[in-house]
Structures are given as structure tokens and as C-alpha cells.
Symmetry: none
Subunit: 295 residues, 2 copies
Amino acid sequence: MNQSGMRGDRRLPPTDPPSLAERIRLEMESFTPSEKRAAHLLLSHYPFAGLDTVAEFASRAGISAPSVLRFVTRLGFSGFPEFQKHLREELEAQLLSPLAKASPSDKGQGAPALASFAEAVIGNLKATVENIAPAEFDAVVALLSDPRRHIHFTGGRFTGALARYAESHFRIVRSHVDFIEGQPALWRDRMIEIGRKDVIVAFDIRRYQEDVTALCETASRQGATVVLLTDPWLSPIARVARHVLPAHIVAPSNWDSSAGLLLLTEALVAAVTKRLWETAKPRMETVERLRNERS
Amino acid sequence: MNQSGMRGDRRLPPTDPPSLAERIRLEMESFTPSEKRAAHLLLSHYPFAGLDTVAEFASRAGISAPSVLRFVTRLGFSGFPEFQKHLREELEAQLLSPLAKASPSDKGQGAPALASFAEAVIGNLKATVENIAPAEFDAVVALLSDPRRHIHFTGGRFTGALARYAESHFRIVRSHVDFIEGQPALWRDRMIEIGRKDVIVAFDIRRYQEDVTALCETASRQGATVVLLTDPWLSPIARVARHVLPAHIVAPSNWDSSAGLLLLTEALVAAVTKRLWETAKPRMETVERLRNERS
DNA sequence: CAAAAGCTGTATCAGAAATTTCAGAACCTG
DNA sequence: CAGGTTCTGAAATTTCTGATACAGCTTTTG
């Protein structure tokens, strides 16, 4: 039911109908606070958030109905119904034409920086996933799911934060989880009780940090199993690591991107949580209950 | 690259959500004449025809409003609004996840889990970038590039690690950067020197943490500028935040994904580093030199 | 620091939309 | 072809939504 019938009529570069979403993004700064909340809600669930009733929209955005009305008026619509009609038509048009996506128009200055950065990060994630040996990933999941093991996370200057992130999740999913600071003075003493039952999960990327390497070598010598999350050039820790999961880290920045490491971390958390669900569920519920009691 | 090697193991047909359209097609014969007209209209412009008003739908189908009502009742809905809600949800679900179709049971092995998890995360990153207003991003970059400002990072249970990650980078790029623990006991005293010159960068996602909110509210009351990185539902901190950068966080896991927040963080680091390059470069070189001396 | 401007939510109203009622039309069925 | 059943739409009814007025509050400005 395409009334134009004209095929191959892409005369112009895909100028696209200037989406309402784009306009909102551009005008965002000129919005009042509650208009911004409305805009954020709409953009985050575009365009479905706008298809509900005014009351529903207002409540979800955390503002009042009149503010929503003012918002749509400000966008140039004569009323809420007209606004919804526009959204529906836009949605229908977009859904029916397979070109759909893209939206590379984005002239803005800041956007390109963010967009191209995201582009690169997404490329890293894809490359990371493709280069992980499934067996390796599974083996690590199995290792971290073994309740008899003790898990220790550690990392360097920047990656230490990722180790902490991992620890804060695993700590809830299972027992015997902790975080070890990278500085030798802080872990030397603890090494005495590291042994075969222990697993060290180390994060280490470029500008590999000697103290983290030393920690892993010591632990390995004591019989611990070392799991390493690193970059494709492999931290020296790889020599003592039982399992290595490399992630791509190059980004258009003066700094490396840790997004791939975070992806692996979160995927491990998800997999282990699922695998230990029987015991993890009550633990998560308990944590939740304790949090609520406090407040 | 199916490591299981077991082919032909499609235990169950790809059940998929039984679309309403399918059901209508199956029951078509049992419809009355005017119901058929309604059904045909709906199927021919599925599902958009159903998103209009009853009157509009009836008119387009060439039947009366009550017939439309009887039609939707017959389909098992309690009323027209419920019918529309179903259409919207079906549409949203279909439009938003052309990627990770098999999220439910998926007891599958490691690699599929990792791959589909990555799919979802990548989707989050794209959605995050698209929903960030360029002006908002730029404004935050400008704010964090102002050498006269003091920057404080903070976050909740899980997001605290991201705040640390941000801090460890910004600390090198510029001066006057620190990290504030979320617990009130740890920051109450420091608030005395927080004022107009200060910027609080807060990370807070679902299960918003009251102590972080309290910190931001206090700081805001003292005249500090608050920047918030949160999820699309917006932490209550948004109330006092000057700038809000929302990131999509839903992943096929029992946990939310912070990858979008990390992306924004790294993009901010990259942008600010570039902007302050004249002063950042010598700082980075100095840090490098100090590290080497130590070893 | 005071006045002004702007923003936002409460309460209220008008109107439109969905739903029900009911009588007439069409269609079987015997 | 009469009696009964089913289907259908006009009109009445009810519900609920979108819109507005106004007052309180916050922020800005002089």
C-alpha cells in the first residue's frame, strides 16, 4: 500500500524527516527543569512514552500534567492529541521504511565527539566478544561458580575500579569474595592464607603495573588459580594465569577504554548469577531486606 | 562458531510472543461481517490503525463504534484502552529488540550468553548516545574543564566504582579533583567547604541510594553545581541537578549494566583531556615520570 | 536584599472519548 | 413465510482525559 510506487527514488541524500527527537535534543538547553524531565522521559523511551495519556506521562516523568501540556505546546503542537498523532505518524513512517535507523545527520559539535567515541567503543566490544574463546569464558564461569573457592579481585590504577565493581556484585551473589589493593604493602601479609582454594581475578591493561604482577606471581606460586582480564597485548600476568580474557581497549582518546573489560565483567556476573541462582536468590533478597531496614 | 556441536537441537519452536495479528488471522472465520471489516483494517495497517480513537477506527473500517468495541471485547480485552495498550507494548517490544530474541530461558552455553549479552549492551550504548542532548554533554565538558572549579565524584554501591574510575582519570588531567564516599558520616564534615566553586558529579542508578541523594541535596543547597549520571528513570538527584546524562542499563541479567555510564564517563574524560590539553599534557608526563622513578 | 519574572503544582472545568442501552434490520430455520 | 436469533448502529450515558485558571514558590535581577 505504498501510494508513491516510485522505486529507486532516492534523489537526495537521506535527509530524513527531521525527527521530533532530534529537535528536542537540540532545544534541550532552552527547556525549563520540568520540561527537561519530560524530554528525557520521551527520548529515553521514544516515542512510546508519549503514546500514553497525559496523566501517565506526567507521573512517569515525575511532573504534573500541566507541565506536560506546556511541554508539548512549546514544541509547537496545538494540544496533546496532535502531539500523539505526530508521534504515531513518525513511528509508522519510520517502521515502514527499512532505512529507518542511521540518523547520522546530527550536525552538532559535541555529538560527533560522543557519537564517534561510542562508535569506537562498540567496535571494541564486538571485537572483544569475537576473540574470546567460548571455552575459556565458560571455564572462568565455572571457576567463579565454585562455592568452595575463594575469589579475590584486584587491579591497577584505573582498572582497580573495575575490580571493585566486580567485587561489589560477586560479594552479593556468593560468599568468600574480597578485594585486594594493588600496593604490595597492603597484600603481602594476606598472602599467607592464599592457597589452592583461591582464585585471583586480576585486571591489568597497558602500562602494566608491576605490583599487580607481583601479587599474581606470588599467589600463583602459592597454588592459587589466576584469571586475567587484560588487553590484546597481554599483561605479563598472562604467564602465570590459568585463564586469559583479552579485551580491545583502543579509543579515539588519550586514554584507553575499559568498556570491553566491563562487558566481560558484567557478562561473568550475569552467568555466575544464573548458574548459582538457587543460592544467589536468597542472598540477594537478604541484602535487599537489610538495605530497607537501615532506612 | 557453535561450540556445542550438537546440531538439530531446536528443542522447541521459536515460540515468540504470539502476536495479536496472528490470533486475528486464525480466528478470522469466526468473526461476524462487521468484525471482519475491523479485522481487515487492523491487519492492513497493523498495528497503527488501532492506535487511533474508536470513532476514527470505526469510520475508517466503515462500521459503527459499538461494533469496534464488540470486536476488541471479543479478542479478550476488557476495553478499548487495554487493547491499545497491548498494541503499544507489542510494538515497542518488537521494535526495541530485533537483537536479543532469545533472552528468556536460554540455558545455552557460555558463548551465546556472552554474545547476546554483548548485543544488549551495544544496544544500550547506541540508545544512550542517541538520547543525550549534545548541548547537555558539551555543557558538562565545559564545566569539568573549568580549572577554577573543584570536582567531586561520588556514587552508590555499584556505581561508586565508576565514580572512582572517573576520579582516577580526572585527577591526572586536572587539579582539584577528589572522590567522596557515599556514607553520610564520611562526607558531612567536608560539606563545610563545599560552595559555588564546586561541582558534584554523581553516579546513581536504580535502587537509588538515599545517602547519595542526601549528599547532592546538601551540596546543592550550599551552592554547588550537580551533574548526574543516571538511568532513564532518573534518580531523585535529578531534582537538584543542573545537568543530567541518562544511560540505558537494562541487560539480560539479574543485574543492570553500567556500560552506558562508563561510556559517558570515558567520553567526558576524552573530551576534557582534549580541551585542557595544554595543561593536561605536562601533568600526564609528570605522573609518568614519577611512576618510573619509584620503580 | 527587595522586587520582578518565571516556573510549577493544585484544583477545577469543559469536552471528548469509551461504553451501554435499546430498537430495528438482516439472516436463519423450520 | 413466520418466529426466533443474531447482528448492527443511533442515541443516551458515563467515564476519563486534556485543558485552564490561579496561587505558591523559586530564581533572577536590579
